[in-house]
Symmetry: C2
Subunit: 112 residues, 2 copies
């Protein structure tokens, strides 16, 4: 089984987390997965091709924002809320609140 | 006098702000300027050459994080806290608090 690298909690860097969240597609993915809980990574409807989606998920995983669980040929994503809240208390909630109020999700879906 | 473009408050995008803050040097600049108030842009001691510093300031300005005032041959930076707080209440404070607790500033200065 392929083992995916995830940074340990203490190695999660603020600048990497902010970079991971600095893309409209990735912000949308994190918002959706945060709301719904574990999701099959490929199941989230976003206006990008599959390889681009995989790249975004990888960026989120490598920064420590998302945990990817491999099950057979499928991959399931969760947000590492426990680790993020321990490293940067209140940060994720603050960013997601800003996102939900920003209208950027609606803008993104309007381009679909 | 050269006029620098700054996005209007309502045009400040969350993803652009997060991108501007996703670099260790830019996070450090914002933290310093936020603490001290208006600063001559070139006066902040960071381990990069002048042209790189100018590029970082430009990224911060174009995203709406920093306002740059031109006075003769000098440029002065302030953080657009009023605009950022209006657009994304609590976001900047949350990111700067995470930054101050992260030890990333000390890591950056240790490389100087």
């Amino acid at each position: 089984m392929k083992v995916l690298n995830h940074p340990d909690r203490q190695d999660i860097q603020l600048s990497s987390v902010l970079y991971a969240l600095s893309d409209p597609i990735r912000l949308y993915l994190v918002d959706v997965i945060h709301k719904t809980g574990e999701r099959r990574c490929g199941d989230i409807a976003v206006p990008v091709v599959k390889s681009t989606l995989s790249h975004h998920i990888r960026t989120l995983r490598e920064s420590g924002v998302v945990h990817v669980r491999v099950q057979g040929t499928q991959r399931f994503c969760t947000i590492r809320t426990g680790d993020l809240d321990a490293r940067f208390p209140g940060l994720l909630a603050s960013i997601l609140e800003a996102y939900q109020n920003s209208g950027e999700a609606e803008q993104l879906l309007a381009t679909t």
